[in-house]
């Protein structure tokens, strides 16, 4: 039995009310959407907000539109289950639909929201534990302690960004719309992240994510998500791979992007993916060769650490495997890449 710490729940019905509550209570307040990340963390004593500002009753956060120019508007409060099952998302942004459909298990996807997934706390096997467990360990830098158990002598937390939708939204060049005390601001999702595992997002305590905007995709847009995890039914990623290919009329790749998650504190873009794939035909031997080169580049760049479960050397060996499979799945429209 894991009890929640005492807290009060406020139920605003507009974004403005929610922001006002966050401003009024300052540091001791936190927003809660589906609660599927925050409540387990609170039960583990990782957060003890005095006030929870519940976002579930706010209609503005439920927007879900595919506009005529192809822009996809996804309210932060839309459930992952709805995104995964939506034909418009499956058709126009397949990597996102696939990633949303592979988060946790079915009950959690009905409760968990897109906003909560983007805002997910980083994860570490020395951190996502009960208070009793962490106390026995002597705590760690991220919460209550002074040392890191992943990097000996490390002065910086390297807990892993573990949100499946984040890398897909990066390949889709999504914009995040926040509202806070000084009004609305838009941020490219690439610019959201810090490399610090304690707080991996640049965000004020008064800010709420209102919606995610995915700009129009190229005519030949293709995408896929690959996820390595222990149990296919429920677990967080041990590695997530999001791929985008823009294929021109002649069948050659005109644009490409590849972003990995569950390695370090922020999702990681494979720098050489685009330069190695552009101009290459999107099928046949040349494509397979280019994909193999991207997989090598990803292997060179990715250094999984013993921050999350799963042997980190094995996770590294899986990087080129999942990168190659996910790029092929994107090219052939056969994602997601997943073992069940």
């Amino acid at each position: 039995m894991l009890r929640l710490p005492k807290t009060r729940v406020a139920k605003p019905t507009t974004v403005a009310q929610a922001v006002a509550l966050l401003v009024e209570h300052g540091e001791v307040a936190m927003p809660i959407a589906g609660g599927t990340d925050l409540l387990p963390n609170m039960k583990h004593g990782l957060f003890e907000p005095e006030v929870l500002v519940a976002l579930g009753g706010i209609k503005e956060l439920q927007r879900f539109e595919l506009q005529t120019d192809g822009t996809l508007i996804l309210g932060a409060g839309v459930s992952l289950d709805r995104i995964a099952a939506d034909e418009r998302v499956q058709r126009t942004a397949p990597a996102l639909a696939q990633a949303a459909g592979l988060v946790a298990g079915p009950q959690l996807r009905r409760m968990g929201t897109l906003g909560g997934n983007v805002m997910l706390d980083t994860r570490c096997q020395w951190y996502n534990q009960t208070h009793f467990w962490r106390q026995a360990l002597g705590y760690c830098l991220k919460k209550d302690g002074t040392v890191c158990h992943v990097v000996a002598g490390g002065k910086k937390c390297v807990a892993a960004a573990s949100n499946d939708t984040a890398p897909t939204l990066m390949t889709l060049q999504a914009t995040l719309v926040f509202e806070g005390r000084s009004g609305r601001r838009e941020v490219a999702i690439d610019d959201l992240w810090h490399t610090d595992g304690i707080h991996n997002k640049k965000l004020g305590t008064d800010e709420i994510l209102v919606e995610v905007r995915v700009p129009p995709r190229a005519t030949g847009h293709r995408g896929a998500y690959g996820k390595l995890r222990e149990r296919g039914s429920i677990d967080y990623p041990m590695l997530g791979v999001a791929a985008r290919l823009d294929v021109g009329r002649d069948g050659a790749v005109e644009g490409a992007d590849l972003v990995l998650v569950a390695l370090q504190a922020r999702p990681v873009r494979v720098r050489r993916a685009a330069e190695l794939l552009i101009g290459v035909p999107s099928s046949g031997d040349n494509f397979a060769e280019a994909v193999a080169a991207v997989a090598e580049a990803a292997y060179a760049q990715a250094h999984p650490m013993p921050n999350i479960p799963g042997d980190h050397e094995w996770r590294r060996e899986m990087v080129p495997v999942y990168v190659a499979r996910t790029l092929h799945a994107a090219a052939t429209g056969t994602g997601p890449v997943h073992h069940v």
Binding site: L39, L108, M111
Partner: protein, 190 residues
Amino acid sequence: MASLLLNVNGDQLEVTAPDHWTLLEVLRYRLGLTGSKQGCDKGDCGACTVQIDGEPQLACLALATLCEGRAITTIEGLMPAHLRAGGKGPDPLQDAFDRCGALQCGFCQPGMLLSAKALLERSPDPSRDEIRHALAGNLCRCTGYTQIFQAVELAAAEAQGRAPTPPAWHPDGNPWMPACSKAPAKGESR
């Protein structure tokens, strides 16, 4: 402490509970509805699965105060709903679990049933794959799942009025007891 108005299994109930209590705690420790199990208490196992507005969700990660105004169905509500709808005996899915031996310790079963029941409501004749995916968030440490899948298939087949696919260990036909609603009256032999 706040007074909450909850709709549980069709009854409007007023309960008092602090804001930090989960729906699972209110069900078990205020309302005495201990059918919903407290397993991991952090979202991993699915033993606490209840239906909220018809959708299987986890009671251990739902704040009770945020469930006001929503229809909550727990395992205790399945049979009464079946009887209210004019049925006989337990819900046919419960009966199928019983006939298939789809449990050992039974700890996962209330959650399994509520996930499976919602599946059959949205997809009356699901494939084995659909069943596996719908039950992916309900972990069972005992059965190995096979009888659970068979029970869902048996209930689906009977609701469609056809014989279930025989299991591999009994290829010559239907090895299961007749449904409760078809059971002979006292004194009659089966």
